[in-house]
């Protein structure tokens, strides 16, 4: 059991490239922290720095009250689950799990107890003598988890552990990982690029972009109050609709006071309703329906706004300018080509500064 604290952690590669530009995160004892961000944002690098597989060029990494910047991976009391599992292909499942313990000089009887206990928890008992190649993807994943569990470390590190599994198995394993972590109550840091995984697993969510932390906090709090337009469009699927305020239509509806401070308006797809009325202080937009996606429980309407010429800084996952997604429950939807009017109440509006870097509270 341990806290993990990152203090102004930096990573600069010898070529001068700055992968991590000063990160401060505090993961409490037994908490599940998820690092999420687009590829290349430095989340895996940060995790590998915590593991000790990458050197730290600035700041401090503190595990359980001990600064571990110069400590070897094996001595940091961590266990890691890799994206490709990294099982030893020539060793049986049992030996894969026992290897790390043997290297620590643990007694064979104790190793046996621990491995069998882990195998029981992960339902691997019947496969202990098999080699990794005789297992399915999900089973290999569980062996990799088992290898981490038997160590009984202070911290679990997960590097996109579910990305090699198919969609159904991924959801099942996601739940399993969460349950397991709750039961063992071990501090965990988990890297993913999947915002759904991030939302569902995290106690603390860290949204990263370009080597920096965009926002840290409770996943729902982040969802409800994204600090930047990047977070707004990255967390939530489909992404939040972002539009420039410097257009007469929106500006006049918002009123001068707020519009003068803010430059960008964001509205989540599910916060729109199709209506002819304009809620007080809210926003109403006329749309032309361009595409409809019905997924059963809900329907996505893609519509184009008239006269939207201005571009907003393009972030990954963001919609093309002028396009709006509306998410409505059920399957009843307007026809393609129809002109509709959608509205959102004032409390559901998100306002950001013109560069998208800060949130403007209404």
């Amino acid at each position: 059991m341990a806290n993990v604290t990152l203090r102004n952690v930096r990573k600069t590669y010898p070529g001068g490239f700055e992968a991590i530009k000063g990160v401060d995160v505090d993961v409490g004892d037994g908490q599940f922290c998820v690092l999420v961000g687009p590829s290349g944002c430095g989340k895996s690098t940060l995790l590998r720095m915590v593991a000790g597989l990458e050197t730290v060029t600035g700041g401090e990494i503190d595990i359980g009250g001990r600064v571990v910047n110069q400590v070897e991976p094996a001595d940091r009391d961590i266990a890691m689950v890799f994206q490709n599992y990294a099982l030893y292909p020539h060793m049986s499942v049992y030996n894969n799990m026992a290897y790390g313990l043997r290297n620590r000089g643990m007694a064979e009887a104790e190793i046996k107890t621990r491995v069998e206990e882990a195998a029981r928890v992960l339902e691997l008992t019947s496969m202990l003598e098999r080699k990794p190649r005789q297992l399915s993807g999900g089973q290999r994943q569980r062996v990799a988890m088992g290898r981490a569990i038997v160590r009984q470390p202070k911290v679990f590190l997960f590097d996109e552990p579910l990305s090699n599994l198919d969609a159904k198995l991924r959801i099942a394993m996601r739940v399993e990982i969460r349950k397991l972590q709750r039961r063992l109550n071990t501090t965990s840091i988990y890297v993913t690029h999947d915002q759904l995984e991030a939302m569902t697993l995290a106690d603390i969510l860290v949204v990263m972009n370009g080597g920096q932390v965009e926002q840290v906090g409770n996943p729902l709090a982040i969802y409800e109050k994204p600090a930047t337009t990047f977070v707004a469009s990255f967390i939530g699927a489909p992404p939040m609709n972002l539009m420039s305020i410097h257009q007469d239509e929106i500006k006049s509806q918002l009123g001068d006071g707020r519009a003068s401070e803010a430059g960008i308006l964001g509205i989540r797809p599910e916060d729109f309703v199709i209506t002819d009325q304009t809620p007080a202080g809210g926003i109403a937009l006329p749309l032309t329906v361009e595409a409809i996606e019905r997924v059963g429980a809900e329907t996505f309407i893609y519509g184009a706004r008239a006269h939207d010429e201005q571009r907003i800084a393009a972030n990954p996952g963001e919609l093309p300018p002028g396009e709006i997604i509306v998410r409505i429950p059920g399957t009843e939807a307007p026809a393609i080509g129809e002109k509709i009017r959608v509205a959102a109440v004032r409390a559901k509006l998100h306002l950001f500064s013109g560069d998208g870097r800060t949130r403007v509270e209404a």
Binding site: L53, A74, M80, F82, Q83, N84, A86, P89, H90, R147
Partner: protein, 282 residues
């Protein structure tokens, strides 16, 4: 594979059989000649059927040797060849797997220059550097010794390159997992890299053993004593006789014996590395 039908298949088989006959006939002649009486062979009256002297010829070859030219039993020559070939094959694999490990997994000053120096030695086989190598071996008093026979042939750029290529396909995560599991460089090499390289080592062993077994020029140069000569050199010496008849049955028996170890290695090791190929997954 597509099954060829009827006539076309027969043509293919006939061509294959002709090929086999061309390759196998000299071997057949050698085996037959090793069972005949020398006088018959010398007169050119050798039959194409096995003669009756099989046991006495092979007994003499292995334990006694020719009466004239070398007077060294072939059993001893085979032992010399075996020691040399094994030392070369095992030595090459050991040296090159260690150097490849250093080059791939460690960052040290002049790593790439060192790699290129190893690479360049590909252009300097024994034949090219034969005088300096002989001088060194002679100065170290290693003439007429197993060390002299095998040591100069052990350094191998080819095998180093092969292991380097293989190591580069091993995922980095395995090394990282080992580090987290508390395995240092030696442990990682011994517990993970070596077992994964088994297939490559078996394949290399086959090639290198045969290469070592078939050495001619180098053993010819550095061995002068009859009891240190290898079988390849021995055969050549048996054929040249000054004023006596060449003892052809013994020469042929020696040739047949010289073929056996490589055949044995190929047959045994091939099974091993086919099994390895099926088992290993990357």
């Amino acid at each position: 594979m597509v099954e060829e039908e009827g006539f076309r298949r027969y043509v293919a088989h006939i061509i294959l059989w002709i090929g086999i006959a061309i390759v196998a006939f000299p071997v057949y002649i050698a085996i037959i000649a090793s069972t005949q009486d020398n006088a018959l062979i010398a007169n050119g009256q050798m039959s194409l059927l096995p003669g009756g002297h099989f046991f006495e010829v092979y007994y003499q070859t292995i334990f006694v040797g020719t009466s004239g030219s070398t007077r060294e039993p072939v059993g001893n020559m085979m032992l010399n060849s075996l020691v040399m070939a094994l030392a070369i094959a095992i030595g090459k694999i050991a040296i090159s797997i260690i150097s490849a490990y250093a080059i791939v997994y460690f960052r040290f000053p002049f790593r790439m220059p060192i790699f290129w120096i190893i690479f360049i030695t590909l252009m300097l086989p024994v034949e090219v550097r034969i005088y300096p190598t002989y001088k060194i071996v002679a100065d170290l008093h290693m003439l007429d010794s197993y060390a002299g026979l095998s040591l100069p042939l052990i350094a191998s750029a080819t095998a180093t390159l092969l292991f380097r290529q293989f190591f580069m396909t091993v995922p980095d995560e395995l090394l990282e997992a080992s580090r987290i599991d508390g395995a240092g460089p030696v442990r990682f090499f011994w517990d993970t890299l070596l077992p994964l390289s088994r297939t490559n080592m078996a394949a290399l062993f086959v090639i290198l053993f045969i290469l070592g077994w078939n050495q001619y020029l180098w053993p010819l140069l550095i061995t002068t004593r009859d009891d240190m000569q290898t079988i390849q050199v021995g055969i050549r010496k048996m054929i040249t006789t000054t004023d006596a008849l060449t003892e052809w049955p013994i020469v042929m028996a020696t040739a047949v014996l010289a073929m056996l170890p490589p055949v044995f290695v190929v047959v045994v090791m091939q099974k091993l590395f086919v099994r390895g190929l099926v088992e290993t997954e990357k």
